[in-house]
């Protein structure tokens, strides 16, 4: 992954020094000096070895735009992204599963259809558009929430600890809700299908026959058996979820990895671009690992097996 991005970036036209020094008035000597400072005068192989060595140490090179090691910039942005994405992820799974349960409990009724149409519609929304509309509606027309950013730009440094914490939460609510709404729709669509798949199974009929109340049939028997597809979905949805975070961060000026990546792309700050892409892939890989572990926790059949067993 790292290698692929490195090659791609160097094949592309344009020069990182380009941005500020493209100006023809800048003397060639100055340009050469800066190229030497950043090691860009070395042959590509040398650059690559240096880069890999630096990435292995977790540094990812030096940012052209920020004049800081990329690792420092990432370390600053990552917790902010995780706060936003983590909150939204939890919210969206709770909301999505709940919505699917309601739909299945009222299968075939108007409630089911209306929720189905709603989730299809939300699923079709562009992230950045919903973000903008949310911003317009709840920050400008009805000024309930602050309009973007992570803290109040003026007052935050003067707040006490409680007020400062509330300030952060207040800024988090709207972007997190927007992001959660978007992914909850996908989760609800998926979970509903999974629940309907098990709905015809014999053990549910048995449970009903022995007089288990309907609510318990759904919550205990059906939901547990439909949990596996949701765990799979958790692993599969992460790349898309990260993509959504990029747009939401941009629209709400949330200074996380997403905004960082977009700004770095515009500035041709390629160590930062690569680092964001690598970090994104690492997060996804980590998420898939968590999903695998959860799989084993949820399905006793997988725990006994020694090797990786996939249900067929």
């Amino acid at each position: 992954m790292t290698t692929a991005t490195f090659i791609l970036i160097h094949l592309a036209p344009g020069d990182p020094i380009g941005g500020g020094l493209d100006d023809p008035r800048v003397p060639a000597a100055v340009r050469a000096h800066w190229r030497a400072v950043y090691g860009l005068d070395q042959p590509l192989t040398t650059q690559f070895v240096r880069y890999i060595a630096s990435a292995a140490r977790g540094q990812f090179g030096y940012s052209f735009a920020y004049n800081e090691p990329v690792s420092t910039i990432l370390a600053r942005a990552l917790p902010r992204s995780l706060a936003l994405a983590g909150t939204a992820l939890v919210l969206s799974f709770v909301a999505g599963v709940a919505m699917a349960l309601i739909q299945v409990a009222r299968h075939g009724t108007a409630t089911d259809r209306i929720l189905g149409i709603t989730s299809l519609a939300v699923y079709s929304l562009p992230e950045f558009w919903l973000g903008q509309v949310a911003l317009l509606t709840f920050a400008y027309v009805l000024p309930i929430f602050p309009a973007g950013g992570m803290v109040d730009p003026v007052m935050h440094p003067y707040m006490g600890p409680v007020a400062a914490l509330w300030d952060r939460i207040d800024h988090l609510i709207l972007p997190a809700l927007t992001l959660a709404t978007l992914s909850a729709a996908g989760i609800a669509r998926f979970q509903r299908a999974a629940l309907l798949d098990v709905a015809a199974d014999d053990y549910l009929r048995t449970a009903r026959a022995k007089g288990v109340p309907e609510r318990q049939v759904l919550m205990r028997h059906a939901l547990r058996n439909a949990a596996l597809p949701v765990i799979t979905l958790f692993g599969l949805a992460l790349p898309g979820f990260l993509g959504g975070t990029v747009f939401i961060e941009k629209v709400f000026s949330w200074p996380g990895i997403g905004s960082l990546a977009v700004d770095a792309v515009t500035a041709r700050d390629y160590p930062v671009v690569i680092a964001c892409a690598v970090l994104g892939s690492m997060l996804v890989a980590g998420g898939s690992f968590v999903a695998d572990v959860l799989y084993a926790v949820a399905d006793p059949r997988l725990r006994r097996a020694t090797g990786p067993v996939r249900p067929r």
């Binding site: 791609l8 079709s124 950045f128």
Partner: protein, 312 residues
């Protein structure tokens, strides 16, 4: 309803004339038009899907007829002083942008670009993905393992970060290269689907029968296997078009997708992105166009899936 045991020789059409007669079976092939009439019959009963189809048809007609319908040319600068940033009015139902261009006209013309890119990119993706998945599933063995590991790796990279990187490096991608970029990053899912479907039908009796009759590998693949798995591929392509509309809009919104002078739904929104509050019409109207188109496409895709699913 399962397709021909042996495909009729090309160019012969005793088929239609003999439909329903008892002699048909003796000819050795089943002589119907495949599953499509039945799928269409089921599809037509699905009100949501039919509504989606009507909406898509309407959007296609309106965008193709844009030169006749649009009140102004899409890039006409009307009056930089008097007519810039006008709120929606009778003269400009969707308002005007910071360069005093008529937003309604831009949305109509932008639809051509957005939809054409999405359709062409997804056709590219389907072609590549089908070939890749078919070879992987048909050949099997170590080749299959290696090929699927590659798609897994590609699927785990967050798509939007990958696209951002590629598009930014490409400089200002032309419409053609944008189609390629989007198409060549959208086929991983299709290839997985095609491989799974091929594995599902590979061992059926009619495949063995065709092989026994001396069908070559390529004939087997193109004449027998692929036609049999056409409906899931078509469903995936339809839903994929909706996703690519969203992706292209997202990239253009971030300024790395469709470049001026072309209008697209995404880059119209970008023109007002930094002044959402003041220029809300630049976000709301193109956004509604995207939402309408994508909901319609997804509804048709869902309807096709339901209609083509043999389990229902």
């Amino acid at each position: 309803m399962n397709a021909p045991t042996v495909a009729p020789p090309p160019g012969t059409s005793p088929v239609r004339a003999m439909r329903g007669s008892g002699d048909v079976a003796m000819l050795g092939w089943t002589l119907d038009a495949g599953p499509w009439p039945a799928i269409w019959r089921r599809f037509r009963r699905d009100r949501g899907a039919m509504a989606g189809l009507v909406v898509i048809a309407a959007i296609v007609v309106v965008t193709i007829g844009a030169p006749l319908i649009a009140p102004y040319p899409p890039n006409a600068v009307l009056d930089m002083v008097a007519l810039k940033n006008q709120a929606p009015s009778l003269a400009h139902p969707f308002g005007t942008d910071p360069a005093s261009r008529d937003v309604l006209s831009r949305v109509l013309f932008g639809g051509r670009v957005s939809l054409a890119i999405a359709v062409l990119a997804m056709l590219t993706a389907t072609t590549v993905g089908t070939m890749y998945g078919a070879i992987s599933g048909f050949v099997g063995g170590p080749l299959d393992t290696v090929m699927m590991r590659i798609t897994d790796a590609c699927l785990s990279i967050p798509r939007i970060l990958l696209l951002l990187t590629i598009c930014a490096l490409w400089g200002h991608p032309s419409l053609g290269s944008l189609v390629l970029i989007l198409g060549l990053t959208s086929w991983f899912g299709v290839s997985r689907l095609v491989r799974a479907e091929i594995l599902g039908v590979r061992t059926r009796e009619w495949v063995t029968a065709a092989r026994a009759l001396g069908a070559t590998d390529s004939r087997l693949l193109f004449q027998h296997l692929l036609p049999n798995i056409a409906s899931p591929i078509i469903v995936a392509t339809t839903l994929g078009i909706g996703q690519v509309v969203l992706l292209e809009a997202g990239l253009s919104f971030l300024g790395v997708g469709v470049q001026p002078p072309f209008a697209s739904w995404g880059n119209i929104m970008q023109d007002g992105a930094d002044q959402v509050r003041a220029l809300w019409w630049l976000s709301v109207f193109p956004g509604l166009a995207i939402v309408l188109a994508v909901i319609a496409i997804n509804a048709v895709g869902d309807g096709l899936r339901e209609a083509a699913d043999p389990r229902r």
